[in-house]
Every structure is written in C-alpha cells, then in structure tokens.
C-alpha cells in the first residue's frame, strides 16, 4: 500500500514535471540562446559596441537600430562570420570602417549572439536558432561563390 502511494506520487510528480518542461521548452530554449549569446557578446562584440549596445560615436555603430536589425536579419550571421567592409547606415549615421570577421565562431554561437542582440538594447525580435543561422550563412556563401 505504502509503496503504491510512493510510486503513484512519483508518477504524478514526473508527469507534472514533463508537462511543465514541454510547455516551457521553447522559453527554455530561448533563455539558453540568450544567456549564451550574452557571453559571446561580452567576449567578441562588447569592446566596440559597448555594454549598452550604443557603439562609439561614428566609429562603431550602435545596435539599437531595431529597423536596421529587422531589415538585415538574414545578413547578420554573415556579417559576424565574414566581417563587414561595406558602408552601412545605422541610426542615420554612415559607417565605413571594417568589422573584423569572427570566422572561428560556430553557427550555434552566432545564433546565440544574434538572439541576444536582437532581444537587448530595446530590441525584441524573439529566438534566432542555429538552423536559421546555418541556412543564412550558407545562402550568403552560395551568393559569394556565384560572384566568383
């Protein structure tokens, strides 16, 4: 009898736990990306773009231009992976300096840091996962291959 109660309790408990986990799996996933992204940001981006994402004058662009991030969302992964040499306009300021490539970063870290950036500094654009990062990077690589 006693054993039954324990077993039943255990089943109920783990059942509730699994339900809970399923419901918030997406939230958990997002939280995991965001937290990892924060670390990647601090290590690879923060020196220039700043703790508050405000950049530095006309040297390094701010990451607060939500519209720019939205319009160029599928390009962001390539910017990070391959660096950026083009002139871009962010917050109505033109930037022509070179952003170094972080070619050693795996797709998962790039996805994480984009999730972090596009959900910090006044941005709220949700999860950007590793599959999306992989596809975006492949697309711009194909584009580059075509050019050559």
């Amino acid at each position: 009898m006693r054993n039954r109660i324990i077993v039943l309790g255990f089943i109920l408990f783990s059942g509730a736990f699994i339900m809970e986990a399923c419901q918030s799996e997406q939230e958990l996933n997002y939280a995991r990306y965001y937290m990892n992204g924060k670390q990647v940001y601090e290590q690879h981006c923060q020196n220039c773009h700043g703790t508050d994402g405000r950049g530095l004058a006309k040297l390094y662009p701010a990451l607060t231009d939500t519209l720019y991030l939205k319009n160029n969302k599928s390009q962001l992964a390539c910017f990070i992976k391959n660096g950026l040499n083009d002139t871009i306009t962010v917050n109505n300021i033109e930037f022509s300096g070179q952003m170094p490539a972080e070619s050693h970063l795996p797709d998962i870290d790039i996805a994480a840091v984009i999730t972090y950036i596009t959900n910090s500094f006044g941005n709220k654009q949700g999860l950007y996962d590793v599959a999306k990062a992989g596809a975006d990077i492949k697309a711009c690589q194909d584009l580059n291959d075509d050019k050559q």
Binding site: N47, L56, A57, G97, Q98
Partner: protein
C-alpha cells in the same frame, strides 16, 4: 542641547570634508637626490622623472613637441586605430575626460599610436573625426617605432609591444597617465575602467588647483 551637539557634529564633518580637497597627488617614477649649495649651505633637492623632449606628427600632419604642452597638464595613452580589444573601451572613457575639460587651455590629451606602419596621420584624422574630436586639445600622434615604444616604456612606464600572435598584432596596457605642467608623472589610471577614469577626472581638478 541635543540639537546643538548635532550641529557641532555637522560642522566637524564639513570641516573634515573640506580638509580633503587639499589632497596633493603623489609624484611617481624614479627620483634622485642631488646636493646643492644654497647660500653657503648644502641642501638636498630631489630630481623627479619627467617626460623628455619629443616630436611627433599629429592627425593634421603638424609636428607636435613637448613645447606645445607648456603650461598644460595632460593625459597620455597608447592605442592604435584598428585595435578591437581594449582601445575602444579606453577611448569611450577618454571621451568623457575630453568632454569634461573641453576648451580648457590648461588641459591636453595625447594618444600615441603604436601601429607605426598602418596609422598614418590621415588615418588618425579619420579616426579622430569619427570619434567626434575637433581642434587640437586631443592630439593623436604618430612617430617611429623606436621613439614611441621607448617613450612608452621608459618615460610613461606603459608596456607596449608588437606581437604577431596577438589578435590585432600588438599588445599594450591601457593606462591613462597624468602628467603635470613640469612634465612629472602624477597618476596612472586603468583606462578600461569607468570608475578609474572618474578618479582621473577628479584628480585632474586637484592637480589644476596646484597651479592656482
């Protein structure tokens, strides 16, 4: 009675605070005692380490020497324009120093590039303009490798070096060095830490008081 003692305590506290403003900054670096004969008596005087004569090109390709800093206290640092490690943080913080003392004829800022190949005056000009600097209160200086590296290590006591293994090709320390009107070292602050830079700003005011 109670109120009176409270009042007295406040006065004492105020007195203690105002006493603090008479703080004097230390003189850093090497020193050497010298004996001099004054009025027939031998006295011991101290010679402090100073920043020696220099001549560099600034962002406007104009030659800048120590004479341009006569009657000024100044802050010096070492950086390079393509640096993505500590330099952006240093200059984000130095910008605060610049804004605080903007237009003050007694204050100068010198940023020496350690990238003697790539950082030409025109690159320094573009960098300073993008940072929002105009005029010549904040000078961005270029010199030969020897002259800049020797000045950094021997005079400002800041370690700089070329390092192929480092990400951007150079390693250096992020000190902001405060120099008085007699070219003596009066303080070293970590230019990557905002709280250290706030301390620099308040100590620059203390130093300026010495010359009033």
């Amino acid at each position: 009675m109670k109120l009176n003692s409270l009042f007295a305590a406040c006065i004492l506290l105020l007195a203690a605070c105002s006493g603090n403003t008479e703080k004097r900054l230390p003189i850093l670096g090497e020193r050497e005692p010298v004996e001099k004969v004054v009025d027939g008596k031998t006295v011991t005087d101290t010679i402090y380490q100073t920043i020696p004569a220099f001549s560099f090109l600034n962002q406007d390709s104009v030659s800048v020497t120590e004479k341009d800093f006569e009657g000024k206290i100044f802050v010096a640092d070492f950086f390079f324009t393509s640096c993505t490690s500590i330099c952006p943080i240093m200059h984000r913080n130095m910008l605060k120093v610049y804004e605080t003392f903007k237009g003050n004829k007694e204050v100068g800022i010198l940023s020496h590039t350690i990238d003697f190949k790539y950082d030409t005056p025109s690159r320094l000009k573009s960098y300073s303009e993008k940072l929002g600097i105009s005029g010549n209160q904040w000078q961005f200086l270029k010199g030969s490798k020897d002259s800049v590296y020797t000045l950094a290590e021997k005079s400002y006591l800041v370690a700089v070096s070329e390092d192929k293994a480092a990400k951007d090709g150079f390693v250096h320390q992020g000190w902001f060095i405060l120099v008085d009107k007699d070219k003596r070292l009066r303080g070293a602050y970590d230019g990557t830490k905002p709280e250290d830079v706030d301390k620099l700003i308040s100590e620059m005011n203390i130093l300026l008081e010495e010359y009033k």
